[in-house]
Symmetry: D2
Subunit: 122 residues, 4 copies
């Protein structure tokens, strides 16, 4: 078995949608909404857990399956969204890490501003 | 320049967080929340657009940059979430497509049930 | 039957949670996550609809029930969140409308900046 | 000053939108997306906080203002969504609590099923 890669998965997802005539639904706006809905479904698994319980979520086979399944849904819509709009998600992330390494130099004094909540606001 | 791959990006993200002492914040529950927040920020770009405007979003360089930037944020938190919990996101998606191909055979008659909103509910 | 009001509903929700010993789960962070998850479930109903189909959603009794049910869930978590943190949601909104009336004077020329996507960013 | 009520707020929001010609944007689907985006912005405030920090969020005046402001945004879109579709949100919640009181009788033995994550799934 070969390791799946991003382009191969995008191709399989596109064929899957095409053979079921689902492409008319797969507009950028709808896919962005669906991505957001699936990310919320992943969060739902954790919403009432303590931080400790969340750390151990993969110890329960049923919960582990649910988590992996929601990860797959999030990734599926992200890859379909990117394909529809011609975005290379790995390049986009690589470029973003480059920018963040310049914006958040190592060694800044700790404090509220150093929290990760700042690292995606641009 | 070599093409970025998922594992390489996960390594860079882990080093980025480690060198800034951000790992204590990167619990599974917090990362799931952050993923959901970033997916909503991507949706925000489209929320008042007509379907037609959304199709053309990449024609405007400023909007195109914003979209790619939010895609990067979503992918960053998804990959960090997966690394923390030991999930292979590409394998998870590949396995999900396998399951969906069995669950949604090609050729079922059209109708409400054939809409894509059914394909992630398991 | 008397018309339900916000405080009465908050009291019923608090009693409901207390008599089932659910308050330990109802932390501000968990309630904010749950609110966000329920809002996504409301959006899920609309995610593959065209704008026209969405306008007619209440014509289908089953869909109408689902929409009202998700509205109730969103409001339930919003009211519980507010009660836990001592926020008056109606006063908060009234004050926000006051601020927005000053920030967005009537009569500004139309254009991208006049879109509603600006009216919540402060 | 009179206490604001839900109908009065809905009227003010409708006049606000009408006088700025924003109603064409305020379709049910767009308002559901906007509601979900605002709920995520509320969650964003808490995403990196420990449960303890989240409990004390209102002690910091700046954070307290941000929280109240996002609560106002969530409520604004919820009320506009309900007005557009003819839903009475307080009645919807009252009816839901009635149903939940029957579905989750007090005194069921504790355990996973008694967690609040079950109380909105219908």
């Amino acid at each position: 078995m070969t390791e799946p890669d991003v382009q191969g998965l995008q191709r399989r997802l596109a064929e899957f949608a095409a053979s079921r005539a689902w492409q008319p639904y797969h507009t950028p706006k709808n896919l962005a909404a669906a991505l957001s809905v699936e990310a919320a479904e992943l969060l739902e698994i954790f919403q009432w857990m303590t931080p400790d319980e969340a750390e151990r979520v993969m110890d329960d086979p049923e919960a582990a399956h649910r988590v992996a399944d929601e990860v797959a849904d999030v990734l599926a819509y992200l890859l379909q969204f990117c394909r529809v709009l011609g975005i290379d998600p790995l390049q986009a992330l690589s470029a973003k890490i480059d920018r963040n390494e310049r914006r958040f130099p190592v060694g800044r004094p700790p404090g509220r501003a150093a929290r990760p909540d700042r690292h995606s606001a641009e």
